[in-house]
Protein backbone atom coordinates (compact mmCIF):
# COMPACT_ATOMS: atom_id res chain seq x y z
CA UNK A 1 0.00 0.00 0.00
CA UNK A 2 1.36 3.44 -0.97
CA UNK A 3 2.39 5.78 1.83
CA UNK A 4 0.17 8.85 2.18
CA UNK A 5 2.15 12.04 1.40
CA UNK A 6 1.58 13.46 4.87
CA UNK A 7 2.96 10.28 6.46
CA UNK A 8 6.09 10.06 4.35
CA UNK A 9 8.17 12.48 6.43
CA UNK A 10 7.44 10.73 9.75
CA UNK A 11 10.01 8.09 8.89
CA UNK A 12 12.73 10.58 8.00
CA UNK A 13 13.98 11.18 11.54
CA UNK A 14 13.00 10.89 15.18
CA UNK A 15 12.13 14.60 15.49
CA UNK A 16 9.58 14.41 12.71
CA UNK A 17 8.09 11.25 14.22
CA UNK A 18 6.60 13.17 17.15
CA UNK A 19 5.45 16.21 15.13
CA UNK A 20 1.92 17.02 14.01
CA UNK A 21 1.80 16.87 10.19
CA UNK A 22 -1.30 18.14 8.37
CA UNK A 23 -3.24 15.69 6.24
CA UNK A 24 -4.70 16.09 2.76
CA UNK A 25 -7.78 18.04 3.87
CA UNK A 26 -5.88 20.49 6.10
CA UNK A 27 -3.33 21.14 3.36
CA UNK A 28 -6.05 21.68 0.76
CA UNK A 29 -7.83 24.19 2.99
CA UNK A 30 -4.63 26.21 3.32
CA UNK A 31 -4.80 27.18 -0.33
CA UNK A 32 -8.58 26.88 -0.88
CA UNK A 33 -9.40 30.35 -2.27
CA UNK A 34 -12.93 30.60 -0.82
CA UNK A 35 -11.94 29.40 2.67
CA UNK A 36 -8.81 31.54 2.68
CA UNK A 37 -10.80 34.61 1.67
CA UNK A 38 -12.98 34.06 4.76
CA UNK A 39 -9.84 33.56 6.89
CA UNK A 40 -8.35 36.72 5.34
CA UNK A 41 -11.29 38.75 6.67
CA UNK A 42 -11.18 37.09 10.10
CA UNK A 43 -7.38 37.38 10.52
CA UNK A 44 -7.47 41.04 9.49
CA UNK A 45 -10.20 41.77 12.03
CA UNK A 46 -8.24 39.96 14.77
CA UNK A 47 -5.06 41.86 13.85
CA UNK A 48 -6.91 45.18 13.88
CA UNK A 49 -8.06 44.47 17.43
CA UNK A 50 -4.47 43.77 18.54
CA UNK A 51 -3.19 46.85 16.67
CA UNK A 52 -5.86 49.05 18.27
CA UNK A 53 -5.01 47.68 21.74
CA UNK A 54 -1.32 48.49 21.14
CA UNK A 55 -1.57 52.15 20.09
Amino acid sequence: MAVKPEEFNFAKNDKFKTAMIPGKFARAMRTCKIWQFIRFIIINLKMLVVVSKSH
Partner: protein, 489 residues
Protein backbone atom coordinates in the same frame (compact mmCIF):
# COMPACT_ATOMS: atom_id res chain seq x y z
CA UNK B 1 12.80 77.26 16.96
CA UNK B 2 13.74 73.87 18.38
CA UNK B 3 15.74 71.26 16.50
CA UNK B 4 15.05 67.54 16.73
CA UNK B 5 17.77 65.29 15.34
CA UNK B 6 16.82 61.71 14.49
CA UNK B 7 19.69 59.25 14.06
CA UNK B 8 18.61 56.52 11.68
CA UNK B 9 16.04 56.26 8.91
CA UNK B 10 14.70 52.75 9.42
CA UNK B 11 11.22 51.81 10.65
CA UNK B 12 11.58 53.56 14.04
CA UNK B 13 13.58 56.58 12.86
CA UNK B 14 11.54 57.22 9.71
CA UNK B 15 8.27 56.90 11.66
CA UNK B 16 9.50 59.25 14.39
CA UNK B 17 10.90 61.85 11.97
CA UNK B 18 7.91 61.97 9.63
CA UNK B 19 5.33 62.24 12.43
CA UNK B 20 7.42 64.83 14.30
CA UNK B 21 7.82 66.94 11.14
CA UNK B 22 4.08 66.76 10.55
CA UNK B 23 3.14 67.65 14.14
CA UNK B 24 5.77 70.37 14.61
CA UNK B 25 5.18 72.10 11.27
CA UNK B 26 7.53 74.82 10.00
CA UNK B 27 8.06 76.39 13.43
CA UNK B 28 10.68 73.77 14.32
CA UNK B 29 13.31 71.75 12.48
CA UNK B 30 13.58 67.98 12.12
CA UNK B 31 16.92 66.59 10.92
CA UNK B 32 17.44 62.96 9.91
CA UNK B 33 20.97 61.54 9.91
CA UNK B 34 21.19 58.19 8.16
CA UNK B 35 24.08 56.63 6.23
CA UNK B 36 21.67 55.21 3.65
CA UNK B 37 20.41 56.94 0.52
CA UNK B 38 17.44 54.61 0.31
CA UNK B 39 14.70 53.42 2.63
CA UNK B 40 14.29 49.65 2.73
CA UNK B 41 11.18 47.68 3.69
CA UNK B 42 13.29 44.97 5.30
CA UNK B 43 10.53 42.34 5.78
CA UNK B 44 10.33 41.95 1.98
CA UNK B 45 14.08 41.31 1.63
CA UNK B 46 13.40 37.60 1.96
CA UNK B 47 11.53 37.77 -1.35
CA UNK B 48 14.47 39.59 -2.96
CA UNK B 49 16.64 36.78 -1.61
CA UNK B 50 14.74 34.17 -3.63
CA UNK B 51 14.41 36.30 -6.76
CA UNK B 52 10.68 36.95 -6.33
CA UNK B 53 11.15 40.72 -5.94
CA UNK B 54 13.78 43.13 -7.19
CA UNK B 55 15.88 45.37 -4.97
CA UNK B 56 14.11 48.38 -6.46
CA UNK B 57 10.71 47.06 -5.34
CA UNK B 58 11.72 47.08 -1.66
CA UNK B 59 13.61 50.40 -1.59
CA UNK B 60 13.11 54.05 -2.55
CA UNK B 61 15.18 57.25 -2.44
CA UNK B 62 14.89 59.10 0.86
CA UNK B 63 15.92 62.58 -0.33
CA UNK B 64 12.72 63.51 -2.27
CA UNK B 65 10.50 62.15 0.52
CA UNK B 66 12.28 64.19 3.19
CA UNK B 67 12.23 67.25 0.95
CA UNK B 68 8.45 66.88 0.60
CA UNK B 69 8.09 66.48 4.38
CA UNK B 70 10.29 69.52 5.13
CA UNK B 71 12.87 67.34 6.89
CA UNK B 72 16.57 68.22 6.68
CA UNK B 73 18.34 65.11 5.42
CA UNK B 74 21.98 64.34 6.11
CA UNK B 75 23.32 61.20 4.45
CA UNK B 76 25.84 60.48 7.14
CA UNK B 77 26.59 58.21 10.07
CA UNK B 78 26.63 59.45 13.65
CA UNK B 79 30.01 59.07 15.31
CA UNK B 80 29.60 60.56 18.78
CA UNK B 81 27.28 62.46 21.09
CA UNK B 82 28.10 65.45 23.28
CA UNK B 83 24.94 65.69 25.40
CA UNK B 84 26.43 68.56 27.48
CA UNK B 85 28.07 70.36 24.57
CA UNK B 86 31.83 70.90 24.62
CA UNK B 87 34.40 73.53 25.52
CA UNK B 88 33.56 75.28 22.24
CA UNK B 89 29.79 74.66 22.10
CA UNK B 90 27.22 75.30 24.80
CA UNK B 91 24.45 73.27 23.21
CA UNK B 92 24.44 69.48 22.95
CA UNK B 93 25.52 68.19 19.56
CA UNK B 94 26.13 65.07 17.54
CA UNK B 95 29.22 64.55 15.40
CA UNK B 96 28.49 62.99 12.03
CA UNK B 97 30.54 61.70 9.12
CA UNK B 98 29.01 62.00 5.65
CA UNK B 99 28.54 58.88 3.51
CA UNK B 100 27.00 60.67 0.52
CA UNK B 101 25.68 63.98 -0.82
CA UNK B 102 29.12 64.69 -2.34
CA UNK B 103 30.75 65.02 1.08
CA UNK B 104 31.92 61.46 1.77
CA UNK B 105 34.30 61.34 4.74
CA UNK B 106 33.65 64.94 5.82
CA UNK B 107 32.72 65.52 9.46
CA UNK B 108 30.17 67.94 10.84
CA UNK B 109 28.68 68.82 14.22
CA UNK B 110 24.91 69.26 14.48
CA UNK B 111 23.45 70.94 17.55
CA UNK B 112 20.16 69.62 18.88
CA UNK B 113 17.49 70.38 21.42
CA UNK B 114 16.19 66.82 21.34
CA UNK B 115 17.69 63.67 19.86
CA UNK B 116 16.22 60.29 19.01
CA UNK B 117 18.68 57.44 18.64
CA UNK B 118 17.07 55.07 16.14
CA UNK B 119 20.22 53.84 14.46
CA UNK B 120 19.10 50.23 14.38
CA UNK B 121 21.77 47.58 14.88
CA UNK B 122 25.27 47.03 13.71
CA UNK B 123 25.17 43.74 11.80
CA UNK B 124 27.91 42.13 13.83
CA UNK B 125 29.18 39.55 11.33
CA UNK B 126 32.62 39.84 12.91
CA UNK B 127 31.38 38.22 16.14
CA UNK B 128 31.70 34.79 14.50
CA UNK B 129 35.04 33.95 12.87
CA UNK B 130 34.48 33.42 9.15
CA UNK B 131 30.98 34.93 9.09
CA UNK B 132 32.43 38.34 8.18
CA UNK B 133 34.61 41.23 9.29
CA UNK B 134 33.03 43.84 11.56
CA UNK B 135 29.73 44.76 9.95
CA UNK B 136 30.70 43.31 6.56
CA UNK B 137 29.39 40.00 5.30
CA UNK B 138 32.06 37.35 4.68
CA UNK B 139 32.65 35.25 1.59
CA UNK B 140 31.26 31.90 2.75
CA UNK B 141 27.62 32.67 3.48
CA UNK B 142 24.86 35.01 2.30
CA UNK B 143 22.50 37.30 4.19
CA UNK B 144 19.09 38.92 3.72
CA UNK B 145 19.65 41.73 6.24
CA UNK B 146 19.92 44.42 3.55
CA UNK B 147 18.48 44.68 0.04
CA UNK B 148 22.00 44.38 -1.45
CA UNK B 149 22.70 41.28 0.64
CA UNK B 150 19.38 39.78 -0.44
CA UNK B 151 20.11 40.41 -4.13
CA UNK B 152 23.46 38.66 -3.72
CA UNK B 153 21.71 35.76 -1.91
CA UNK B 154 19.32 35.40 -4.85
CA UNK B 155 22.24 35.11 -7.33
CA UNK B 156 23.90 32.45 -5.18
CA UNK B 157 20.62 30.56 -4.83
CA UNK B 158 20.20 30.56 -8.62
CA UNK B 159 23.68 29.02 -8.95
CA UNK B 160 22.92 26.07 -6.67
CA UNK B 161 19.54 25.54 -8.34
CA UNK B 162 21.37 25.30 -11.68
CA UNK B 163 23.62 22.66 -10.12
CA UNK B 164 20.55 20.73 -8.95
CA UNK B 165 19.19 20.82 -12.49
CA UNK B 166 22.45 19.23 -13.60
CA UNK B 167 21.90 16.42 -11.12
CA UNK B 168 24.17 17.62 -8.30
CA UNK B 169 22.58 17.22 -4.87
CA UNK B 170 22.92 20.41 -2.78
CA UNK B 171 22.96 21.02 0.96
CA UNK B 172 21.31 24.20 2.22
CA UNK B 173 21.92 25.54 5.72
CA UNK B 174 19.88 28.48 7.04
CA UNK B 175 19.53 29.96 10.51
CA UNK B 176 21.49 32.00 13.03
CA UNK B 177 25.23 32.56 12.89
CA UNK B 178 25.92 33.06 16.61
CA UNK B 179 24.61 31.99 19.99
CA UNK B 180 23.20 35.42 20.78
CA UNK B 181 21.35 36.27 17.57
CA UNK B 182 17.90 37.74 17.33
CA UNK B 183 15.65 37.94 14.26
CA UNK B 184 15.11 34.17 13.92
CA UNK B 185 11.88 35.09 12.13
CA UNK B 186 13.75 36.39 9.07
CA UNK B 187 15.75 33.16 8.81
CA UNK B 188 12.53 31.16 9.34
CA UNK B 189 10.89 33.02 6.46
CA UNK B 190 13.92 32.62 4.24
CA UNK B 191 14.30 28.86 4.73
CA UNK B 192 10.66 28.23 3.79
CA UNK B 193 10.78 30.61 0.84
CA UNK B 194 13.88 28.81 -0.43
CA UNK B 195 12.14 25.46 0.10
CA UNK B 196 9.04 26.76 -1.71
CA UNK B 197 11.08 28.00 -4.71
CA UNK B 198 13.03 24.74 -4.96
CA UNK B 199 9.82 22.70 -4.75
CA UNK B 200 8.16 24.94 -7.36
CA UNK B 201 11.12 24.32 -9.69
CA UNK B 202 10.67 20.56 -9.29
CA UNK B 203 14.05 20.21 -7.55
CA UNK B 204 13.01 19.37 -3.99
CA UNK B 205 14.44 15.85 -4.21
CA UNK B 206 17.85 17.33 -5.04
CA UNK B 207 18.11 19.48 -1.90
CA UNK B 208 18.84 18.68 1.73
CA UNK B 209 17.58 21.65 3.74
CA UNK B 210 18.82 22.15 7.29
CA UNK B 211 17.87 24.72 9.95
CA UNK B 212 20.34 25.76 12.66
CA UNK B 213 19.27 28.08 15.46
CA UNK B 214 20.34 29.43 18.84
CA UNK B 215 16.79 29.00 20.16
CA UNK B 216 16.59 26.43 22.99
CA UNK B 217 13.47 25.04 21.31
CA UNK B 218 11.72 25.45 18.00
CA UNK B 219 9.33 28.42 17.98
CA UNK B 220 11.11 30.40 20.71
CA UNK B 221 11.61 33.36 18.30
CA UNK B 222 13.45 35.31 21.01
CA UNK B 223 10.20 35.73 22.92
CA UNK B 224 10.49 32.60 25.04
CA UNK B 225 7.98 31.00 22.67
CA UNK B 226 4.28 31.72 22.88
CA UNK B 227 1.03 29.92 23.37
CA UNK B 228 -1.51 30.47 20.64
CA UNK B 229 -5.18 29.90 20.34
CA UNK B 230 -5.47 27.48 17.42
CA UNK B 231 -8.60 25.53 16.56
CA UNK B 232 -9.92 25.70 20.09
CA UNK B 233 -6.64 24.53 21.61
CA UNK B 234 -4.02 26.61 23.37
CA UNK B 235 -0.93 25.39 21.54
CA UNK B 236 2.77 26.08 22.10
CA UNK B 237 4.57 27.73 19.20
CA UNK B 238 6.92 24.75 19.45
CA UNK B 239 4.19 22.37 18.20
CA UNK B 240 3.22 24.84 15.48
CA UNK B 241 6.82 25.29 14.28
CA UNK B 242 7.91 21.64 14.50
CA UNK B 243 4.82 20.73 12.50
CA UNK B 244 5.80 23.02 9.63
CA UNK B 245 9.40 21.75 9.59
CA UNK B 246 8.25 18.11 9.58
CA UNK B 247 5.67 18.79 6.87
CA UNK B 248 8.26 20.42 4.60
CA UNK B 249 10.97 17.87 5.43
CA UNK B 250 13.37 20.46 6.86
CA UNK B 251 15.66 19.01 9.51
CA UNK B 252 16.66 21.20 12.43
CA UNK B 253 19.34 21.78 15.06
CA UNK B 254 18.42 23.96 18.07
CA UNK B 255 20.42 25.45 20.93
CA UNK B 256 23.40 25.98 18.64
CA UNK B 257 26.13 28.60 18.88
CA UNK B 258 27.87 28.77 15.52
CA UNK B 259 31.48 29.49 16.49
CA UNK B 260 33.26 29.22 13.15
CA UNK B 261 32.36 29.48 9.49
CA UNK B 262 34.61 28.13 6.76
CA UNK B 263 34.11 27.51 3.07
CA UNK B 264 31.31 24.94 2.93
CA UNK B 265 31.32 24.19 6.67
CA UNK B 266 30.18 25.60 10.01
CA UNK B 267 31.31 24.49 13.45
CA UNK B 268 28.98 24.84 16.39
CA UNK B 269 28.55 24.17 20.09
CA UNK B 270 25.24 22.91 21.48
CA UNK B 271 23.56 23.68 24.79
CA UNK B 272 24.61 20.24 26.11
CA UNK B 273 28.25 21.25 25.56
CA UNK B 274 28.82 18.95 22.59
CA UNK B 275 30.49 20.22 19.43
CA UNK B 276 29.41 19.57 15.87
CA UNK B 277 29.99 20.46 12.26
CA UNK B 278 27.60 20.91 9.39
CA UNK B 279 28.54 21.13 5.74
CA UNK B 280 26.72 23.26 3.17
CA UNK B 281 26.69 24.32 -0.46
CA UNK B 282 24.56 27.39 0.26
CA UNK B 283 24.10 29.04 3.63
CA UNK B 284 22.27 32.09 4.95
CA UNK B 285 23.14 32.82 8.56
CA UNK B 286 21.77 35.85 10.41
CA UNK B 287 24.52 37.75 12.29
CA UNK B 288 24.14 38.90 15.90
CA UNK B 289 23.19 42.54 16.45
CA UNK B 290 25.14 45.12 18.45
CA UNK B 291 24.88 48.85 18.98
CA UNK B 292 26.44 50.91 16.18
CA UNK B 293 29.31 51.97 18.44
CA UNK B 294 28.38 55.58 19.15
CA UNK B 295 30.67 57.25 21.68
CA UNK B 296 29.58 59.92 24.17
CA UNK B 297 31.60 62.74 25.75
CA UNK B 298 30.81 65.26 28.48
CA UNK B 299 31.54 68.99 28.34
CA UNK B 300 35.12 68.46 29.53
CA UNK B 301 35.67 65.91 26.76
CA UNK B 302 35.72 62.87 29.08
CA UNK B 303 34.36 59.62 27.68
CA UNK B 304 30.88 59.01 29.18
CA UNK B 305 29.86 56.23 26.77
CA UNK B 306 29.20 53.92 29.76
CA UNK B 307 26.72 56.46 31.17
CA UNK B 308 24.68 56.80 27.99
CA UNK B 309 25.03 53.33 26.49
CA UNK B 310 24.84 49.77 27.82
CA UNK B 311 27.89 47.51 27.27
CA UNK B 312 26.27 46.05 24.12
CA UNK B 313 26.23 49.54 22.58
CA UNK B 314 22.47 50.09 22.84
CA UNK B 315 21.22 53.28 24.53
CA UNK B 316 20.08 53.20 28.15
CA UNK B 317 16.48 54.31 28.61
CA UNK B 318 13.90 54.20 31.42
CA UNK B 319 14.19 50.41 31.91
CA UNK B 320 15.14 48.65 35.14
CA UNK B 321 18.66 47.42 34.38
CA UNK B 322 19.25 45.94 37.85
CA UNK B 323 20.69 42.42 37.34
CA UNK B 324 18.07 39.89 38.49
CA UNK B 325 17.49 36.16 38.35
CA UNK B 326 15.14 34.94 35.60
CA UNK B 327 12.46 34.14 38.20
CA UNK B 328 12.44 37.79 39.31
CA UNK B 329 12.01 39.34 35.88
CA UNK B 330 8.92 41.52 35.64
CA UNK B 331 7.03 43.14 32.80
CA UNK B 332 7.62 46.43 34.64
CA UNK B 333 11.38 46.11 33.99
CA UNK B 334 10.68 47.15 30.38
CA UNK B 335 10.88 50.83 29.38
CA UNK B 336 7.78 52.95 28.87
CA UNK B 337 8.96 56.35 27.55
CA UNK B 338 12.42 55.47 26.11
CA UNK B 339 13.92 58.59 27.68
CA UNK B 340 17.58 58.42 28.73
CA UNK B 341 17.72 58.60 32.55
CA UNK B 342 20.74 60.96 32.59
CA UNK B 343 20.02 63.29 29.67
CA UNK B 344 16.29 63.99 29.44
CA UNK B 345 16.47 65.31 25.87
CA UNK B 346 17.84 61.97 24.61
CA UNK B 347 15.48 59.19 23.55
CA UNK B 348 15.95 55.84 21.80
CA UNK B 349 13.56 53.90 19.56
CA UNK B 350 13.50 50.52 17.86
CA UNK B 351 16.49 48.21 18.10
CA UNK B 352 18.69 51.07 19.40
CA UNK B 353 17.29 50.99 22.96
CA UNK B 354 18.93 48.67 25.46
CA UNK B 355 16.45 46.05 26.71
CA UNK B 356 16.59 45.36 30.48
CA UNK B 357 17.19 41.67 29.85
CA UNK B 358 16.34 39.01 27.32
CA UNK B 359 12.81 37.56 27.07
CA UNK B 360 13.72 33.89 26.51
CA UNK B 361 14.94 31.82 29.42
CA UNK B 362 18.72 32.36 29.80
CA UNK B 363 20.78 29.36 28.80
CA UNK B 364 24.46 28.41 28.90
CA UNK B 365 26.33 25.34 27.76
CA UNK B 366 28.40 23.46 30.41
CA UNK B 367 31.44 25.19 28.82
CA UNK B 368 30.01 28.57 29.85
CA UNK B 369 28.94 29.64 26.35
CA UNK B 370 25.80 31.78 26.42
CA UNK B 371 23.34 30.41 23.88
CA UNK B 372 20.05 32.27 23.93
CA UNK B 373 18.21 34.57 21.55
CA UNK B 374 18.17 38.28 22.29
CA UNK B 375 14.81 40.07 22.27
CA UNK B 376 13.21 41.16 18.99
CA UNK B 377 12.46 44.92 18.75
CA UNK B 378 11.67 45.17 15.08
CA UNK B 379 8.57 45.73 12.94
CA UNK B 380 5.38 46.85 14.63
CA UNK B 381 6.91 47.54 18.10
CA UNK B 382 9.63 49.62 16.41
CA UNK B 383 7.07 51.77 14.60
CA UNK B 384 4.87 52.21 17.66
CA UNK B 385 7.84 53.17 19.85
CA UNK B 386 9.09 55.63 17.19
CA UNK B 387 5.69 57.31 17.03
CA UNK B 388 5.32 57.46 20.84
CA UNK B 389 8.77 59.02 21.23
CA UNK B 390 8.02 61.59 18.50
CA UNK B 391 4.77 62.42 20.31
CA UNK B 392 6.61 62.93 23.61
CA UNK B 393 9.22 65.22 22.07
CA UNK B 394 6.57 67.29 20.27
CA UNK B 395 4.81 67.69 23.63
CA UNK B 396 8.08 68.73 25.31
CA UNK B 397 8.84 71.27 22.57
CA UNK B 398 5.33 72.75 22.60
CA UNK B 399 4.50 72.53 26.31
CA UNK B 400 7.82 72.63 28.12
CA UNK B 401 9.83 70.15 30.21
CA UNK B 402 6.89 69.10 32.41
CA UNK B 403 4.82 67.94 29.42
CA UNK B 404 3.25 64.49 29.39
CA UNK B 405 5.42 61.74 27.88
CA UNK B 406 3.77 59.07 25.79
CA UNK B 407 4.26 55.46 26.77
CA UNK B 408 4.72 52.35 24.66
CA UNK B 409 5.90 49.46 26.83
CA UNK B 410 6.56 46.22 24.96
CA UNK B 411 5.00 44.49 27.97
CA UNK B 412 1.71 46.26 27.20
CA UNK B 413 1.67 46.25 23.41
CA UNK B 414 0.91 43.44 21.03
CA UNK B 415 2.43 42.66 17.68
CA UNK B 416 0.99 41.32 14.47
CA UNK B 417 3.53 39.20 12.64
CA UNK B 418 3.20 37.59 9.25
CA UNK B 419 5.97 35.11 8.43
CA UNK B 420 6.09 34.11 4.79
CA UNK B 421 6.48 30.42 4.01
CA UNK B 422 6.42 30.83 0.23
CA UNK B 423 5.36 33.54 -2.23
CA UNK B 424 2.50 33.23 -4.69
CA UNK B 425 -0.95 34.81 -5.02
CA UNK B 426 -2.52 31.36 -5.51
CA UNK B 427 -0.06 28.90 -3.93
CA UNK B 428 1.80 31.01 -1.36
CA UNK B 429 1.48 30.54 2.38
CA UNK B 430 2.41 32.51 5.46
CA UNK B 431 2.02 32.07 9.20
CA UNK B 432 -0.16 34.95 10.38
CA UNK B 433 0.31 35.51 14.10
CA UNK B 434 -0.55 38.01 16.75
CA UNK B 435 1.04 38.09 20.16
CA UNK B 436 -0.27 40.12 23.09
CA UNK B 437 1.75 41.40 24.81
CA UNK B 438 5.19 41.03 23.19
CA UNK B 439 6.92 40.71 26.57
CA UNK B 440 5.05 38.18 28.72
CA UNK B 441 3.45 39.49 31.90
CA UNK B 442 3.02 36.57 34.31
CA UNK B 443 1.41 38.77 36.97
CA UNK B 444 -1.36 39.83 34.63
CA UNK B 445 -1.63 36.58 32.66
CA UNK B 446 -0.56 33.73 34.96
CA UNK B 447 0.07 30.56 32.96
CA UNK B 448 1.25 31.58 29.52
CA UNK B 449 2.19 35.20 30.32
CA UNK B 450 0.02 36.40 27.46
CA UNK B 451 -3.64 36.92 26.67
CA UNK B 452 -4.61 33.86 24.61
CA UNK B 453 -7.74 35.67 23.38
CA UNK B 454 -5.41 37.93 21.40
CA UNK B 455 -2.51 35.54 20.75
CA UNK B 456 -3.24 33.30 17.81
CA UNK B 457 -1.63 31.91 14.68
CA UNK B 458 -2.49 30.01 11.54
CA UNK B 459 -0.80 29.19 8.27
CA UNK B 460 -2.37 29.60 4.87
CA UNK B 461 -2.79 31.59 1.68
CA UNK B 462 -4.65 34.36 3.55
CA UNK B 463 -1.46 35.05 5.53
CA UNK B 464 0.45 35.45 2.29
CA UNK B 465 -2.13 37.87 0.92
CA UNK B 466 -1.80 39.93 4.12
CA UNK B 467 2.01 39.92 3.96
CA UNK B 468 1.98 40.97 0.30
CA UNK B 469 -0.61 43.72 0.84
CA UNK B 470 1.36 44.98 3.86
CA UNK B 471 4.40 45.32 1.61
CA UNK B 472 2.58 47.81 -0.64
CA UNK B 473 0.83 49.48 2.29
CA UNK B 474 4.02 50.21 4.24
CA UNK B 475 5.97 51.29 1.15
CA UNK B 476 3.08 53.69 0.42
CA UNK B 477 3.05 54.96 4.00
CA UNK B 478 6.82 55.46 4.12
CA UNK B 479 6.66 57.50 0.90
CA UNK B 480 4.19 59.82 2.69
CA UNK B 481 1.55 59.43 -0.01
CA UNK B 482 -1.98 60.82 0.67
CA UNK B 483 -3.56 59.60 3.93
CA UNK B 484 -0.28 57.94 5.04
CA UNK B 485 -1.03 58.84 8.65
CA UNK B 486 -4.17 56.68 8.82
CA UNK B 487 -2.15 53.50 8.15
CA UNK B 488 -1.24 52.05 11.56
CA UNK B 489 2.34 51.13 12.41
Amino acid sequence: MARLVVLGGGVAGHTAATFAADWLGKDHEVVVVTPNAKWNWIPSNIWVGVGEMSKEEVTFDLAPVYEKAGITYKQAKAVSLNPEGSAKRNKPFVTIEYTGQGKVGHSDEIEYDYLINATGPKLNFGATPGLGEGSNLGAHTVSVCTADHAEHASHELTKIMDKMRKGQRQKILIGTGHGMCTCQGAAFEYIFNVEHEIRKAGLRDMADIQWISNEAFMGDFGMGGLHMNVGGYVVSSRIFTESLFAERGVNYITGAHVNKVEKGKVSYELLDGSMGEESFDFSMLIPPFAGVGLKAYNKAGDDITDTVFAPNGFMKVDADYTPKAYEEWKATDWPRTYQNPTYKNLFAAGIAFAPPHIISKPAKSPNGTVINPTPPRTGMPSGIIGKAVAHSICNLIKNGPEAHLHEASMAEMGAACVASAGKGWLDGTAAAMTVYPVVPDYDKYPGTGRDTDYTFGEIGLAGHWIKHILHYLFMYKAKLKPFWKVIPE
